[in-house]
Symmetry: C2
C-alpha cells in the first residue's frame, strides 16, 4: 500500500477540549453486569454520534447525527427511544476531519493505516467510514435475561450476519492499550447500512470504496454506575478482565 492517509490535527471544540464520553466500562460486561444503567437520552446529551449495547446485551447500538439505531438478532436496524437503557456506551460530538478515500482495503489494514496516520496509538479517537463495503460481517448478541451470563458464556448466543456490496457507515472508537479493561484496547466498530436493513458489531469487512474520517480526543469522560448495587458490590479481582475482553470483544474475533 503506497497510498497514505493525511496527518490528522485534532480540532479544538468550543470548550477547548475534544471529549469522548463513556458510560460504564467493558470490564462490567465480563462478569455479566448487564443491567441498563444509562439511557439513550442521557447519552445524547454528551454527543450526537456513538455506539453501545442494550440491557442484557440487547443488540448493537449506533448513533449517527443524533439518531440511535439498534440491530438485534434479526439483523435489521430499528430506531430506539430515548428511554432505551444500556450497560455500556460511548458518544461524542462529531467534529470529524476528512482523511482520504480508499479502495479495496480489508478492515485490519484499514485500522492499521488509521492508527499510523494519526501517529497516536496512545490516544482515544473515533473513525468513521462511509462507502460501499464489498464484504461486511457483523454480529448481534441475543438479548439475555437476568441472572445474566458472563461475557464468555454469551459468546455462543449471538447471530452472525454477512452482506456483500452494502453501502453504509462504519463508526468506531480506538482506545489505547493502557486503558484496556476500562475500554476495549484497539478498535470497537459498529455498522449501519444506508437503507437501515443491516448493521451490527463489525467482525470483519472489506471496503470497496469509501471516505475515511477521524477525530482525536484529548479527554475521556468515564461515567460509572455508582448507584447500581450490582456494580458497587461486585468483586472484579476474580474476573480476569483483560483476557476475557480480548477473546470476546476484540476486533480480531472472526467467528
Amino acid at each position: 500500500m503506497t497510498q497514505s492517509l493525511a496527518k490528522n490535527i485534532h480540532p479544538i471544540t468550543e470548550h477547548g477540549a475534544n471529549v469522548l464520553y463513556q458510560h460504564g466500562t467493558l470490564a462490567l460486561l465480563v462478569p455479566g453486569l448487564l443491567e441498563g444503567t444509562t439511557t439513550i437520552g442521557e447519552l445524547l446529551k454528551h454527543g450526537d454520534t456513538g455506539i453501545g449495547t442494550g440491557e442484557g446485551l440487547d443488540g448493537e447500538l449506533i448513533i449517527l447525527n443524533g439518531v440511535a439505531y439498534k440491530v438485534g438478532q434479526s439483523g435489521v436496524a430499528e430506531q430506539v427511544p430515548d428511554d432505551f437503557t444500556m450497560p455500556f456506551a460511548n458518544s461524542h460530538r462529531a467534529a470529524f476531519q476528512y482523511q482520504c478515500e480508499r479502495n479495496d482495503i480489508g478492515l485490519e489494514e484499514l485500522n492499521d493505516r488509521i492508527v499510523e496516520a494519526n501517529g497516536r496509538a496512545n490516544t482515544f479517537f473515533s473513525v468513521k467510514v462511509h462507502g460501499t463495503f464489498s464484504f461486511m460481517k457483523t454480529r448481534a448478541v441475543i438479548k439475555q435475561q437476568a441472572p445474566y451470563p458472563t461475557l464468555l458464556e454469551v459468546a455462543d448466543r449471538q447471530a452472525i450476519f454477512l452482506r456483500h456490496d452494502v453501502t453504509g457507515t462504519m463508526l468506531g472508537y480506538f482506545s489505547p492499550v493502557m486503558f484496556h479493561g476500562a475500554a476495549v484496547a484497539g478498535f470497537h466498530e459498529h455498522f449501519l447500512s444506508d437503507d437501515h436493513t443491516f448493521g451490527g458489531h463489525v467482525l470483519d469487512a472489506v471496503l470497496g470504496h469509501g471516505e475515511i474520517y477521524s477525530q482525536v480526543f484529548d479527554t475521556l469522560v468515564t461515567h460509572l454506575p455508582v448507584d447500581d448495587p450490582g456494580y458497587r458490590n461486585h468483586d472484579f479481582s476474580q474476573d480476569n478482565i483483560a483476557e476475557a475482553i480480548t477473546s470476546a470483544e476484540g476486533d480480531t474475533r472472526t467467528d
Copy 2:
C-alpha cells in the same frame, strides 16, 4: 474495631455529576515520560482540591482550598505559581461529606475502613483526614533532569521524612482496580502539615485523633497530553506498567 464509619451518600453537584479530573496517567511515569504537560493554573480550573507531581517528579503537590503547595527534597512545603508544570495530577471540587472521628488508627486500617464504609471499591472517591498524626512517614522524589529515568530507577532518588505528633491534612484518592495503569489502583495520599513545614507523598501513618471526610465520584475525566511527542510516540506495550506502578507507587511501599 467496633467503631464504624457512616454510610456515604454521594452528593450531586450543580451539574448533576461529581467529577474527578485527572491529567495524564500513572502509566506515563513508568517509562519516564516526566515532561510537565499541564499547569497548576489549568488544574485549578477543574477543582480547588488535588494532588500531583512536578515535571521530572519535582516534588509532591497538594492543593487545598484552591492553593497549591509543593514538598520537595527539603521536606518543607512551598506555594507554587500557576505556571508550575506537571506530568500527572488530580483535582476536584471539594464537596466532602463528614464521616466520623477516629483515634489511634494506622493508615492501612484507616483506608480499609473508608472503603468498607463507602461500600464502593469499584468507584473513585477522595478521602480527607484532618487531625494530629502520632506518626507520619512521607517521601518526595528529587527532581530529575531529561533524559528522564524510569519510575523504578527513580525509586532510589527520593528523600524520606518522618514526623511524630504532627497536625495537618492528608488528602488522597482511591481508584478501582480495573483502572490500574490509567490511575493507581487503591489509595494515593499526600500530606501537608498545618504550619506548612512538612508534607509529601504518604508512605505510612498513624492517626492519633482526627476527622474523616470523603467524596464519591461518578465521573472520571482523563485528560491526556495528546500534543506531547514523547507521549504520542511512546510504545507502552513493553513497560510492564501494572507491576512497575504497584512496586514504585503503591501505598504498601514503606521503604
